[in-house]
Symmetry: C2
Subunit: 461 residues, 2 copies
């Protein structure tokens, strides 16, 4: 492996050439005017992947094509699916860019370190090339691969990704990966590598409470007529206890304990309440009192009211008792929480609180499980060690509060866990002008994947 790492080091300028070629293609998926550029990027990737022995297909969808490339010769070794996306965000406002966004170049930052500039450098072309350049180096040096590899590169991640789920469903009978790696996330800090091993799921519900058969004058009926805003407020209040815990029966079933050493690590690397809350003008975490803000967002389920509406909302005042009131409520799920069961228990809970004269209607908005990697597993251990070997410090196991749809898609279609390993940094300006990727991320990212692929070779599944 040292040979290969040496090859990576020696070949860095060639790796950069490859990256710059790809960065020059303005594959903006959201703008139909750039559809042919998305196609150009796909064609470039096909030729590139083929050059180091991947059997590569450009798969048509109703939108931009998906690239599926395979190198499965490592019989008996684990089969990993690597996911990334070749499309990029639009570049507006163009005037804020220091360089033309599709004329990538290397600049020095304030600390004198080399930084790759250009749209897609971090999100996600730079990141996918850390993986693919690792593969190229391995193939160049050894003519083979330590594991079986399927590379899946999407062209619509930045514009809704609507065609991916159907594509994955089609592939279900052809593809049988053992695990997935996604390279589209950040490191814990600029020095600490991270694996995002927890991605929260989501259940969305709209609740509408109906009372009188029409809007009422609050003078004539106030006090006597049931007010659906009051009923709704009482329901919302009942959803949490005074310790910030959700009160729906069995809500916490399937919520895993996160090992205290992992939680301690988060504090150690600066993931404090203040780091999360200060930028948004807040001081104290509002959820379960037994957990800090990072724990509440990464590894604890939540219940949030995303919208509420009822009665008169315009300027001034109107003394009305409305006939109905509604709220949009979402639950973020972790571990093995069952979205279907939570939806049912939520509806039962609410229905039991509806007074005689009211009725309730529910509408569903999505139900996805959390993406949760086994924290005791051999794969996680192997990847952590590989990252630690490269970066010289312990790998942080982190979570993501929001849903990452592809994690759920892969879990649903292939029944596999996704390991999110990325080398971006929080200051990389993704989706904004002056997107960048540290050369160190690119270089050590490639080296990291070499180590990971070899570390996975002996893993018993």
């Amino acid at each position: 492996m040292q040979t290969i790492l040496g090859s990576v080091d020696r070949g860095l300028s060639e790796s950069l050439e490859k990256l710059f070629e790809l960065l020059k293609i303005p594959s903006i998926s959201a703008d139909p005017a750039y559809a042919h550029e998305c196609r150009n990027a796909a064609n470039w990737l096909k030729e590139y992947l083929t050059s180091f022995n991947f059997v590569t297909r450009i798969c048509e969808t109703e939108g931009h094509p998906i690239i599926l490339a395979q190198e499965l010769s490592a019989t008996n070794a684990p089969h990993i699916l690597f996911y990334g996306h070749y499309d990029v965000q639009p570049v507006d406002p163009i005037t804020l860019w220091k360089i033309p966004p599709f004329e990538p170049c290397m600049l020095k930052d304030n600390l004198g370190q080399d930084v790759i500039h250009g749209r897609g450098s971090s999100d996600d072309k730079g990141q996918i090339l850390t993986f693919l350049e690792a593969c190229r180096a391995i193939y160049t040096e050894t003519g083979q691969f330590p594991v079986r590899i399927t590379v899946l590169l999407e062209g619509e991640e930045e514009s809704g990704g609507e065609h991916l789920p159907a594509f994955l469903a089609e592939q279900k009978q052809h593809l049988h990966p053992d695990m997935a790696f996604i390279c589209d996330t950040d490191m814990a800090t600029a020095d600490v590598p991270a694996i995002t091993a927890m991605v929260r799921g989501l259940v969305g519900e709209e609740v509408t409470i109906y009372a009188a058969n029409r809007d009422l004058h609050s003078g004539i009926y106030g006090n006597a007529a049931r007010n659906p805003i009051q009923v709704l407020s009482e329901i919302i209040t009942a959803l949490r206890d005074d310790q910030g815990r959700v009160t729906i029966p069995e809500f916490y079933e399937g919520v895993p304990e996160i090992p205290s050493e992992i939680r301690a690590k988060w504090q150690e690397i600066g993931k404090t309440d203040a780091a999360l809350l200060s930028p948004i003008g807040l001081k104290e975490s509002a959820g379960e009192q037994a957990f800090n803000a990072i724990e509440q967002t990464w590894c604890r389920p939540s219940c949030e009211i995303n919208g509420i509406s009822g009665g008169y909302q315009g300027a001034g005042f109107k003394t009305v008792i409305p006939a109905k009131a509604s709220a949009k409520i979402s639950f973020r799920l972790v571990g093995h929480q069952d979205p279907i069961k939570i939806r049912k228990n939520f509806r039962d809970f609410v229905s039991a609180l509806i007074p005689q004269d009211c009725r309730v209607e529910f509408e569903s908005y999505g139900a996805s499980r959390a993406g949760m990697v086994s924290l005791e597993g051999a794969i996680l251990g192997a990847v952590c060690q590989a990252l630690q070997d490269e970066w010289g410090c312990e790998t942080a196991i982190v979570g993501s509060g929001g849903a990452i749809p592809v994690v759920n898609d892969l879990q649903r279609e292939f029944g596999i866990e996704s390991f999110l390993v990325g080398f971006a940094n929080a200051d990389d300006c993704i989706h904004s002008p002056n997107e960048k990727y540290n050369l160190r991320s690119f270089h050590k990212g490639i080296r990291s994947w070499v180590r990971i692929l070899y570390a996975l070779q002996p893993v018993k599944l």
Copy 2:
């Protein structure tokens, strides 16, 4: 007095002639095209009032004129102020009228009883003429009056009444009435006369809760960031206890006990929960459990949420934690509840529930006291007896859940109580096509006022 009542009976057709003359004038105050007709009605009333010795002025406002007529010769007798309005509602949709709305006539109803038809017959021309025809009969028979009388007839009651408060303030130094009578309300039932002796006051407040410095993604921050909708819901919930009582400190200070015989009477005359709630599709009263629906709306204070707003309210779903949420909240007041104190206590109550990371802003929308007549007073007793003598059954003391602004204006400017005595019926179609007034209401209404005026003569204030 029997002589005068006989005169009323004999003169009924002449009284109807007078009423029909007034009903023929289309004094629609809301429509500027009818401004001259409002003037015509005012002129007609001036001439009419002058004919039975009232010193009458047409007082200009920036809108339609106000008529002020006085007959103050009954030295040492009580001074009553009578309020009514000579303007009427528009007549749309005209096609639904059985007769042309300003060509009044007498029709038989299903029971074979005579009914006056025409816009304004009930609201309020027919009602004001019950009083004025009583005055005319008294003057015709006796050449004098048992009490001092000021008649105040407004021309903008149906279009906002915006110029009345300033006019009353101006009159404060000239007018010193002892009590007011307002003839613009219903009887308890078609057979049971009523005095509306309780009119609820109103305090309106808008509360806005602010949390983070911007709208947040509920995936990234959900659980940890304070959600202002949740905070607002908890505040609304805390405003009432599980018995339906408002929990604001000292809220019930000044709320009078209503004598049990008055409350019993309401049930007796059919003012049941079902009568109030069935038409709006409800079954059970939602307020204080110790009181029924009529009591809750007529003689108990309320706290109602008139509007609530926060987060995403459009179609579909958006996983946002909003930066703010707001509610419009109103309190209906009874008896001697102090609106200023209630506003302060409400704000203190809410402020104490605001978590560290939130702030609250309040906006005021009005603060009026209840209009409450002393239920032990000599005037009320005298008026009740007079009505009972005329109608042959006990007078009902009733309440009105909504505010009636002129009651507050009169209380504020002159410090007097208002007795609302009206002879309309719930089926009179006021504000609608085919407005009517039962001939019996008109006839016995006139007779009632004769009795009331003589009953008031000996009242010691």
